[in-house]
Structures are given as structure tokens and as C-alpha cells.
């Protein structure tokens, strides 16, 4: 992607940004996030189908913020996260340059966050058929069976919190699990504690998750935790009619609309 390298070089040379967050070569045949501060290093930037990490996670990290104004290489999942982070007041339009990349690997620039939102309206989140089937299968289980299913699925979790670190929306300074006065969520990785942690994580993403799958990709044990958030995405859509990120600040769970169905209140 020469165009990307050129653009990044110009941005750094003109001092329009101080750091470019992008993808570079990783170990084995993988790619990893790189943070380029010198124009000369821009040729290290790559972009191909292996670049699946959600770089938006770095936008809220103190260490990266210290480097100055960033430009970010942003394929669709990153764009979605940017919109959600903006709606949650975590990033400001003037403090960021977005180097969008279309599914056809073309570079797109955006004048505003609103322009990203418009662009995304033609690239809607879709839950793949195979996931749909699994979710339906789980939902059709009787409660006790479903409980047992998740206890078992989550059993390998040893609470490394990689999922949390990879999620661009887990930007809290102090996560609920670290709150020990009182200790709402048990830190031990016993079956019930694991369940508590993952249910809480999914609930905290209700109406916010943009389905980037970064959590699942990060999990060293390969636990399908993204099923929880995908299912949540569908539930939110059914109950509140919102699907995917939007700049309006009316998050599904924190806002009331007179036409909310409220079918869960009986």
C-alpha cells in the first residue's frame, strides 16, 4: 500500500501528527501494531488480510497519548470503534487523523466523525450465519442446560484479561473487577467467578460492542466469548432498534425513548 506509506510520511513530515498507529511485520507470519514517530520509518507500514487487530484500542492508552497527535490506519472494525469512542467522549475530532481503509483496500480520508458514520451506514454489521446458528442453538436450551453450557465453555478462563486489554471499549481506568471495596466480582478463576466476570463484561458492552472480535482473537484459550457480545448485539437491536455504533449519545441502555418496547418488564 504505497499510498498509505506516502500519506503517513507526509503527515509526519509536516508535523500534522506526531505518531502513526498502523500495522507492521510481527513474529512468524503475523502482523502487529507499530507506532511510527519518524517519517523515514513509514515504509514499515503494511496492510493486508492478516491485519485483524483492532488498533483503536491504543487511542485511549496514556502511553500512546503521550506521543502526541496520532494518525491511525483504520479498516472497517477500527472505524466502527472510532465512532463508538467518539460517542462516549473518549476521542475528539481534532485530535486524530483517520486513515480509513475500505474492504477493497483503498485509502479513504474522512473530514469528520460524521463522515465516518455515513460511510459505515453502507457497511453494516452482519452476524455470520454460522454464529447465528450457534446462538440460536444456545438460546433454545433450557435455562439450567444453558447455565451448564457456559460454565463449561468458560472453565478454561484463567482471568488473564487479554480480552479486556484487546477491547477498544474497555478503556476504564479502573475496571469493576479491580474494585475491591466491595469486591463485586470474584477474582479467582473458579467456575462461578469466571461466569460472573464474563457476564459482567458482556453486559458492560451491551449497546456499545461493535463486533470487532478482538476479544476472541486475543483469548489464549480460544473461548468463544464473542458469542455473548454478538447475541447481545441482536438483543439490543430487537429491544431498542439500534444496531452498531452511532454518534448520537443515546446509548441503548442509558437512554429512554417513549417507543422502547420494554418487553422484558413483566
Amino acid at each position: 500500500m504505497n499510498e498509505l506509506i506516502q500519506k503517513a510520511t507526509i503527515l509526519l513530515e509536516s508535523n500534522s501528527v506526531q505518531v502513526v498507529i498502523g500495522y507492521g511485520k510481527g513474529s512468524a507470519n503475523r502482523t502487529r501494531a507499530i507506532f511510527i514517530t519518524q517519517a523515514a520509518d513509514c515504509e514499515k507500514l503494511i496492510f493486508d488480510s492478516r491485519c485483524i487487530q483492532n488498533l483503536a484500542v491504543y487511542l485511549t492508552k496514556q502511553e500512546i497519548k503521550k506521543l502526541g497527535k496520532p494518525a491511525i490506519v483504520a479498516p472497517i472494525p477500527v472505524l466502527r470503534s472510532i465512532v463508538q469512542l467518539a460517542a462516549e467522549n473518549q476521542i475528539a475530532e481534532n485530535d486524530l487523523v483517520v486513515l480509513g481503509v475500505t474492504p477493497e483496500s483503498e485509502l479513504v480520508e474522512f473530514e469528520s466523525f460524521a463522515a465516518i458514520e455515513t460511510f459505515l451506514s453502507t457497511h453494516r454489521i452482519e452476524i455470520e450465519g454460522k454464529y447465528q446458528k450457534t446462538i440460536e442453538m444456545i438460546k433454545s436450551m433450557p435455562v439450567s442446560e444453558r447455565f451448564a453450557y457456559w460454565v463449561k465453555e468458560l472453565e478454561p478462563c484463567f482471568k488473564c484479561y487479554a480480552c479486556r486489554s484487546a477491547c477498544p471499549l474497555c478503556y476504564c481506568t479502573r475496571c469493576t473487577v479491580e474494585n475491591n471495596q466491595p469486591q463485586w466480582i470474584s477474582v479467582a478463576s473458579h467456575p462461578l467467578g469466571n461466569l460472573e466476570w464474563h457476564v459482567m463484561r458482556a453486559m458492560h458492552l451491551a449497546g456499545r460492542c461493535t463486533d470487532c472480535e478482538a476479544c476472541y482473537n486475543a483469548c489464549p484459550m480460544g473461548i468463544p466469548i464473542h458469542l455473548l457480545t454478538k447475541s447481545m448485539l441482536q438483543d439490543v437491536a430487537e429491544n431498542f432498534g439500534t444496531y452498531g455504533p452511532s454518534l448520537d449519545k443515546l446509548n441503548a441502555l442509558s437512554s429512554f425513548k417513549p417507543d422502547d418496547k420494554e418487553s422484558f418488564i413483566r
Partner: protein, 667 residues
């Protein structure tokens, strides 16, 4: 170390008859941190309170648990007692052994055990209680009254006469509301205008009242004592300071055929108009939607005629911001157009009219100058049928409630008809006669006995026209459902009183609740009939439910007195049970990440933002901030905040958790 006193009340026998109170005192006395425990017959009595006070002083208690009735009942009593003994009142908690235990269970070991558990949870909570201090907020001593019907007029006059400033906002060009449209009023038959217009004038002339007609509330922010209201003053196209109300303009306006709202469509008005001769203020407005100039760009006849040059075609709506301490909602009601009832033929036959239209016919200032004449041909009806409950008490059509005023005004209408049309015959179809009110039953009797009005108990099934007559078909249920048919000249429908079309939107703007019929809800149906659930906003008149003038006026004076009580203080004390966003040591400063989702979750708009700065004024962090004047302590934000950065004073996460754990760790 905590030194907690536990005081168990027998509540006469209310608690002690099913709970072994002596054992509860004994067992809870053994809990860690409990210094003293006892039981007594009436804890709330003077000797009871003295036990608490003395123990606080003698034992140096740091916290108190009173296990008795509902905190709704006596929490203030016991907190005050603690305060008098030198303990911060918020170090005292009440456990409800009556409603939560003794009243709902039989006498048994389990009941006593539950009582012990209930007390134990609060002992654990009190250990974590912190002294709290009432929040002081200033009071702006100006009231905003919305709606200039009799309710708004009465409330404004009362508040103004107590020496406070009032801003009265009325959406129409004149104040007066429905009462100005009425002819005579039950139960005394005094002329409505005669008793109302002097008050309208008093409002206009009162030095403490600022009257804004043709104006509406745009936005309301803030909280009790400190509201900020934005009012839209709609363009009247007139400079009111110059206009002397001579009325020349209205005589020559070429657009003359606009149905007059005041005369309920039974008369017409011009595009530049004063709604009725006694209007206050008595100055015209231009109805832009019907004015030839505004619609077609040509005319301006009024401008040429006006001797003072007061016409302003370029006038724009004006938005004015106001600071007020209290709001009285007095926006009244509306009369349902009974077109949803095809059986009555309203809208199809000209001589089927509503009760409000009848008022205009019977009114000396009305289109017929008080003579009862049919709208179709101006003939005086020889036979007239009144249909009560035309829409009310009809769940199938969505209005199950009773409109309350119709029985009385229908009796009044029939009576007025009999007085005005000698030899005429009047019939009233009714379901029940509801005449509960001072002199009301006597009034109805007079209609039946003295004026020979024919009351027929039953419903009307159909009204249709035949040979210039309206055939009214119904049944008389007192005569074994015998069919009745009356050849009438005119039919009057007592159509239901309903909420104003904009009521729901208005309620949402002000964050007050409303019922399923869009009438505004009082805070408590018995004990707080003029308060809303939002402190500082009060209700008066028919906006809360259909009501007649005496009831409206009483409620308006009630609302006014609540405002005056509020304004009698320079500062308000508020319960300090409010949310707070945490603070922590640098470099974190607060665990709040400034997502502001709590702000949209808060039903009271209590959450704003705060910038944490360093000594040089550089912004380090942007976090949420709760306005303690607005916060109602509902806890919605606490449940919402993912990072648990927000907590309620007096009901913190830690305190709640300790209560739950006290129950779970019970062995």
C-alpha cells in the same frame, strides 16, 4: 471502633405479638460492634426517645439502629432524637420490623429469626455510615405559572398578593381559558364572565404579575428554587406598547370567515383579531396562517388603518430565558370532539353540538347573543335532547373515566334552555346522575322538579335526520329497557373532558409524570394532590383531571400556598442522599472516565461535567459531576456506571454490599 445502640420497639403489640422482641434485643446485643440493646413498648413516645438520647450520651454511641415501623413514618423522628443527643442524624437507621416482618408473618421462631436478620443487616450498614450534612440551595423568589385559565389566574393572584413576583404564560392571545367561554355556572347560575373578567383585569394590573400571552414554554432546566425556563413569545405582529386597542384594524381585515375558536366555530373572526370583547390583554394579534399578507404577500390594510402605527409584519418569535424558583402548571383541559361516535351524528348534522358549543349559544356574549338558536337555520328548538357521558365512561372508546363536570353542566344546560325557551321540552339521557358537591344535588332536583326537565336513564343508540328533525333513538332502562324515540330539533353532547393535545410533550419537557390519559400526575393521590413528582413543580386545575371551577380554584390556591411556603425561605435544605463521583489520589484523580453515559441515564438531568485541573489551570481530566440540588438519589447512575465511579452518599455500594453479606454469612 463502632459503638452501636440497637433499640427494638414493640409498636404497642403490632410487633411484639408475633416477634419475640426480647430475644431480638438479646441476640442483636451480641453482635460485634453493638454496645447496647434494649426493647420498649413505644420507641417513638417521649420516654422511648429519651432512652435513645440518654444511651447515646452515656455510652458514647457512634451509631443507632431503631427496629420499629416504616422509616417513612418515623425516620425523621428518630434522626431528630439522635441529633438532639449530639449524634449526626445520618448515623441513625431504621429497620422495618412491622411492615416487613410482624404484619406479614405469623408468630413463630422463623419470624423472630427474620427480625434478628433484619436488624443485623442494618447494624452492618451503620458501621459504614458517615456523617452527612443537609445540602443548602438558594431560592429564586419568582414563580412561573403556565396557563391563564381560572386556575392560573387564581394561583398567580395568590402568589402575587403574598408579595412574590409571578410570570404568567398563556398560549392563546387572551387569558380566561374555558371559563371565559361559559354562560352561567352551576350550581348558582351566576354569569361566568361577570365573576371572571374582574380577576382577569386584576392579573393584568397587578404590579407583581408579568403577563405574557401568545407565549409557550420552550424548555425547563434546573431544580427546585433554581429553575431556568425558556419561553417562546410568539410574534403577535403588533407592537403592544404602541397599540391602544382601538380595534379599527379588525373591522377592515378582508379575511373574515375564519371560524372563531372562542365561539367554538359557531361564529367567525378576522385574521387580525381579539378573541372576544373582554379579552385581556385587549390588543389584537395577527393569525399568520390566515392573514392575506403572510400567505400571499399583499394586503397590509390593517397597517394603513392603524392610527398609532403599531402593526409589525417583520416581528419574529422571541426566546426569553427566565430564572424562577417554582412552577405552577395550570394548562387546563380540552373538550373531546365527539366525531369518533358516528351514532351521534356529530359533524354530520349541524344541529348536533357539544356542551361547550351550547355554552356559547347560551352566553350573552355569544354568536346568538344568548338566544338558543339552531346552528343550521337559526330556529329556536322546541325539543332538545342532551346526551350525558358522550364519550366518558366508555372503555371501548378509550375513556373509562368519568369527566365529572358533565352531569352538572347538562342539568345547567337543560335549566337554561327551560328558562330561555318557554314551553320548550328538554330530555336528558344519562347513565347515573353524579351530583356530589355542595348544593349540587339540590341544583339537579331543581332542574327536574321546578324546570320539568325529563331525565331518561339509558343510552342513545342512534341519531339521524328525518324531515328536518333529529330522531334520537334510545332506551329507558328504568322502564325495562323500553325503546324511546324523540323527534328533536337539537342534540347536545356532553362530550368527554380530555387532556390538552400538547400535554404529553409538555410533561416530558418538565419531567413531570402523567397518567395514561395524559393528565398530569400528582405526587400522591391523597396526601400530595398539588405536588408533582418533581420538587418545585405544582399542579392546579383541570390539567390534573377534569374538575369544576370551585375545585379548580381550591387547588390553585393550594398550589399557590405551596409556592409561598417555598418562597418563605431564603435557602432550602435538601436530604444529602445524593450521588457523588469519586476522587482518588493522583495520577488517577477519579476513576470516572468521562463517558457521560450516566448523564443520559439520569432521569433528573442532574449530571454535568467537571474539569479537573492542575495548579496552573491545565485540564488533566474531564469527569462527570452531580449537581446535588438536582439529584434525587435514585441510583440509576450508580447501576449504570461500569467503572463504579459514582456512588450514593448514605447508600454506597459498600453499605449495600455489607447488608447483603450480613445475610449471606449467617450461620
Amino acid at each position: 471502633m463502632s459503638k452501636i445502640g440497637v433499640f427494638i420497639c414493640h409498636c404497642g403489640e403490632n410487633i411484639s405479638s408475633t416477634v419475640d422482641v426480647v430475644r431480638v434485643a438479646e441476640e442483636t446485643g451480641k453482635l460485634e460492634g453493638v454496645e447496647f440493646s434494649t426493647d420498649y413498648k413505644y420507641m417513638c413516645s417521649d420516654p422511648g426517645q429519651t432512652i435513645i438520647k440518654q444511651t447515646i450520651k452515656e455510652k458514647g454511641l457512634t451509631g443507632v439502629v431503631v427496629a420499629a415501623c416504616s422509616p417513612r413514618m418515623h425516620e425523621p423522628t428518630f434522626r431528630k432524637a439522635c441529633q438532639e443527643a449530639g449524634l449526626n442524624p445520618y448515623m441513625c437507621e431504621m429497620s422495618n420490623l412491622r411492615e416487613h416482618c410482624s404484619w406479614v408473618h405469623d408468630k413463630s421462631e422463623a419470624t423472630t429469626q427474620k427480625a434478628i436478620d433484619l436488624v443485623r443487616t442494618l447494624v452492618e450498614k451503620v458501621k459504614l455510615n458517615k456523617p452527612l450534612y443537609p445540602i443548602k440551595v438558594p431560592v429564586t423568589k419568582t414563580a412561573l405559572v403556565l396557563g391563564g385559565g381560572i386556575a392560573g389566574i387564581q394561583a398567580s393572584l395568590d402568589i402575587a398578593n403574598a408579595g412574590h413576583k409571578v410570570i404568567l404564560v398563556e398560549k392563546d392571545p387572551s387569558i380566561g381559558g374555558h371559563m371565559s367561554q361559559l354562560s352561567e355556572t352551576f350550581p348558582t347560575l351566576d354569569c361566568s364572565q361577570c365573576i371572571l373578567t374582574p380577576r382577569m383585569v386584576e392579573v393584568a394590573q397587578h404590579p407583581n404579575i408579568t403577563l405574557w400571552t401568545y407565549a409557550e414554554l420552550e424548555k425547563l432546566e434546573g431544580f427546585i428554587g433554581n429553575f431556568k425556563a425558556t419561553i417562546r413569545k410568539k410574534a403577535k405582529s403588533i407592537d403592544e406598547n404602541i397599540c391602544n386597542g382601538c380595534g379599527h384594524c379588525t373591522t377592515k381585515c378582508p379575511t373574515k370567515k375564519i371560524p372563531s375558536e372562542f365561539n367554538t366555530g359557531l361564529g367567525t373572526r378576522t385574521a387580525i383579531y381579539v378573541p372576544f370583547p373582554q379579552a385581556v390583554p385587549n390588543k389584537p394579534v395577527i393569525d399568520k396562517d390566515n392573514c392575506t399578507y403572510y400567505q400571499k404577500g399583499k394586503c397590509k390594510i390593517c397597517e394603513k388603518l392603524c392610527p398609532t402605527g403599531a402593526i409589525r409584519f417583520d416581528q419574529q418569535d422571541e426566546l426569553v430565558e427566565l430564572e424562577v424558583g417554582a412552577v405552577v402548571i395550570a394548562t387546563g383541559f380540552n373538550v373531546m370532539q365527539p366525531s369518533g361516535f358516528p351514532e351521534y351524528g356529530y359533524g354530520k348534522y349541524k344541529d348536533v353540538i357539544t356542551g361547550l358549543q351550547f355554552e356559547r349559544l347560551a352566553s350573552a356574549s355569544g354568536p346568538t347573543l344568548g338566544e338558543i338558536r339552531r346552528p343550521s337555520d337559526g330556529k329556536i328548538p322546541e325539543k332538545i335532547v342532551f346526551v350525558a357521558c358522550a364519550g366518558s365512561r366508555d372503555p371501548a372508546k378509550g375513556i373509562p373515566y368519568c369527566s365529572k363536570i358533565c352531569c352538572m353542566y347538562t342539568a345547567k344546560h337543560a335549566m337554561l334552555y327551560q328558562h330561555k325557551v318557554h314551553g320548550g321540552k328538554s330530555y336528558i339521557f344519562y347513565m347515573d346522575i353524579r351530583a356530589a358537591g355542595k348544593n349540587y344535588e339540590e341544583f339537579v332536583r331543581r332542574a327536574i322538579v321546578d324546570d320539568e326537565v325529563n331525565y331518561i336513564r339509558g343510552r342513545v343508540s342512534k341519531v339521524y335526520e328525518e324531515n328536518g328533525k333529529l330522531i334520537v333513538k334510545g332506551v329507558d332502562t328504568l322502564l325495562n329497557a323500553k325503546p324511546v324515540e324523540i323527534e328533536a330539533d337539537m342534540v347536545v353532547l356532553a362530550s368527554a373532558a380530555v387532556a390538552n393535545p400538547g400535554a404529553e410533550e409538555l410533561a416530558q419537557k418538565m419531567h413531570v409524570s402523567y397518567d395514561s390519559y395524559n393528565f398530569f400526575s400528582e405526587a400522591h393521590p391523597k396526601l400530595k394532590p398539588v405536588e408533582t413528582n418533581t420538587a418545585g413543580i405544582f399542579l392546579a386545575g383541570a390539567c390534573q383531571a377534569p374538575k369544576d371551577i370551585p375545585e379548580t380554584v381550591s387547588q390553585a390556591s393550594g398550589a399557590a400556598s405551596k409556592v409561598i411556603i417555598l418562597f418563605s425561605q431564603n435557602e432550602l435544605s435538601r436530604e444529602p442522599v445524593v450521588a457523588v463521583v469519586n476522587r482518588s489520589a493522583p495520577p488517577v484523580y477519579s476513576t470516572c472516565v468521562g463517558c457521560f453515559m450516566c448523564a443520559s441515564a439520569c432521569p433528573y438531568q442532574a449530571i454535568g461535567e467537571e474539569l479537573i485541573t492542575d495548579r496552573k489551570g491545565n485540564v488533566i481530566k474531564r469527569v462527570a459531576k452531580v449537581n446535588p440540588g438536582l439529584c434525587q438519589g435514585c441510583g440509576t447512575c450508580v447501576a449504570f456506571c461500569r467503572s463504579k465511579s459514582i456512588d450514593i452518599d448514605g447508600y454506597s455500594n459498600e453499605q449495600m454490599y455489607s447488608e447483603v453479606m450480613a445475610l449471606l454469612n449467617n450461620d
